[in-house]
Amino acid sequence: MVFKLEPRAVPSRVMIYQSPIIAVLLTLLAGMVMFRLLGTDPLQALDAFFIEPISTLDGIAELLVKAAPLILIAIGLSIGFQANVWNIGAEGQLTIGALFGGGLALAFYEFETPFLIPAMLIAGTFGGMIWAAIPALLKTRFNTNEILTSLMLTYVGLLILSYLIHGPLRDPDGFNFPESRLFHDSALMPLLIEGTRLHIGFLIALGVAIFAWLFIFKHVVGFQIRVVGLAPAAASFAGFKQKRLIWFALMISGGTAGLAGVIEVAGPIGQIVPVISPGYGFTAIIVAFLGRLHPIGVIFSGILMALTYLGGDSAQITMNLPSAVTGVFQGMLLFFLLASDVLIRYRVKIN
């Protein structure tokens, strides 16, 4: 018996949506094997990883808290990925956004005004855009590969955070701990459900998703992005300005990453700390692919990936598994997704 891949006449539309489901099921199977190898009961581990964390209201609130930044970043990234602009430095843009927004909160430390939060959100978005403007400028002006520059700038951004938090932004009454002051109440994201950490950041993420959806399918620039992704040659015949699209893709993805950064520091964290994100900027790459580069798909995949973070924490507490299991799960999921995607263009034939 030999398996052979046979090209389909037309790419399967059904498989586009089935492939993520296949990938999730395969990841769960591989996860059970992994837990077995780690010496735990696979079913118990899966329960601890995927069921237990969301069996309470508090758990569901936490799930949405973690999903918000993932959804925001992934929306920006998926617009870029469609146009073949590979911004993989969202983690750095998130960090700079958090510093801009958080810096504003600390600058206006004792101000009681409802305008502070909106100003912080704008500042954070702007910060992320500035950080993404560097790869955009280098790409359009000097033809420099944006994958490498945006990633290098992530390391630089994290070091800037480290410098500021050990110096200028450190809490003057904080016994030299590398942490800023706790933000004032008017610099914290309003809560959606009292008693949990769920804040309006999740609604912002949903709003941005819907806006992006309308934009991609109704606006002419959104149309151009889709054409560039599907048929680059056609796009250049049609006279779409390649450079403008590169700028656009990087500004959008940098902006949403910066926004995600500020809602993290003004939301669940409430101050600036040395580690702001547990790798949301990289995980969002997986979220974007799993959500089929579609804003609405990204909402679902963002929630699913948020669950892997909660699961990692829960498995660490209840089963003493290292939290690094989360990263392994996320990597496996992307592998299985890329593998299943072959079925969009090919069908398996058994001879």
Binding site: P7, L138, N143, T144, L151, Y155, I285, G327, G331, L334
Partner: protein, 308 residues
């Protein structure tokens, strides 16, 4: 006086450069075959943890080196299978390899945090080692430093002087033509990918066995990405990559000794140097669009579909 300062500085440069030499030369072979594997960072960190774990268990760093190469090779096989047999996007698959590798290494290395090993021994060449200054520098390195020089020579010879090197370059320049004259594009690329994986694994092994003989999460700290930048910097030529790696190694000297010179710069600013220099170097190289276009393999990053 000069010897007392210069020799230790050069020794530090060698240690910092060697992992980059392995990873960059491996990736040159991969890219010459027309495949862009962005997973170098992931293969390197898995190589580092594999080498460290096996050294802890066996007490023998040489077995550790082999384990490091093998770990990188195994990880690269996933990439090869997905991109060559399932036609997945090379950029996305490479990113997946890095995300997976970083997670996997943290999981595997969990129990080895804080353990110590005997680092890779320095060789001692009778007579030559006693030459003042030059002796320790040239004749008293660990064997991987010599191996890295040897690999640069071997890969240059293989690519430029052998039939199989020619086949590999042909596959990278025009896979359809290479296929039509009877070369197995997929198999040649698979071997190139596996070689690149083993080399990245060796680079990682050097990090955890010689550079800093410890296991620390994320200890590769972007070196895999710097190696990718070096490939572009070197215009896909092994020897240029070798010297490029030493240029980058040289930057670490500034990092380590700047404070010694009484320069008052925050340590974080010094740590940014390798990343900033990478960006600057890339800009300088890439602005010459023509040069990139003639030296980059024409089929770089494109999937090959044997049935048209």
């Amino acid at each position: 006086m000069i010897i007392e300062f210069v020799i230790p500085a050069l020794l530090t440069i060698i240690t910092a450069s060697t992992p980059l030499v392995f990873a960059a030369i491996g990736e040159i072979v991969v890219e010459k075959s027309g495949v862009l594997n962005l997973g170098v960072e992931g293969m390197m960190i898995v190589g580092a943890v594999g080498a460290f774990a096996v050294t802890v268990k066996t007490g023998n760093p040489y077995i550790g080196v082999i384990a490091g190469a093998f770990s990188g090779l195994l990880l690269s096989f996933i990439f090869g299978f997905l991109t060559l047999y399932l036609y997945s996007n090379q950029v996305a698959t490479g990113l997946a390899l890095t995300i997976f590798g970083v997670g996997l290494s943290a999981l595997l290395g969990h129990e080895f945090v804080g353990q110590t090993i005997n680092s890779l021994p320095k060789l001692n060449t009778p007579f030559f080692s006693d030459i003042r200054g030059l002796g320790p520098l040239v004749f008293e390195q660990d064997f991987m430093v010599y191996l890295s020089v040897f690999m640069a020579i071997l890969v240059t010879w293989f690519l430029m002087r052998t039939r199989w090197g020619l086949a590999l370059r042909a596959v990278g320049e025009n896979h359809d033509a290479a296929h039509s004259i009877g070369f197995s594009v997929t198999l040649i690329r698979l071997f190139a990918i596996l070689f690149g994986g083993a080399m990245a694994g060796l680079g990682g092994a050097y990090l955890s066995l010689a550079h800093t003989p410890l296991w620390v999460e994320n200890m590769s700290a972007g070196r895999g990405w710097i190696a990718l930048a070096l490939v572009v910097f070197a215009s896909w030529r092994p020897w240029r990559a070798f010297f490029g790696a030493y240029l980058f190694g040289g930057i670490t000297i500034i990092q380590l000794h700047a404070q010694g010179f009484g320069v008052d710069v925050p340590s974080q600013v010094l740590s940014m140097l390798p990343y900033l220099v990478t960006i600057i170097v890339l800009v300088m190289i890439s602005r010459d669009d023509f040069r990139i276009r003639i030296s980059a393999p024409a089929c770089l990053g494109k999937s090959f579909h044997p049935h048209g």
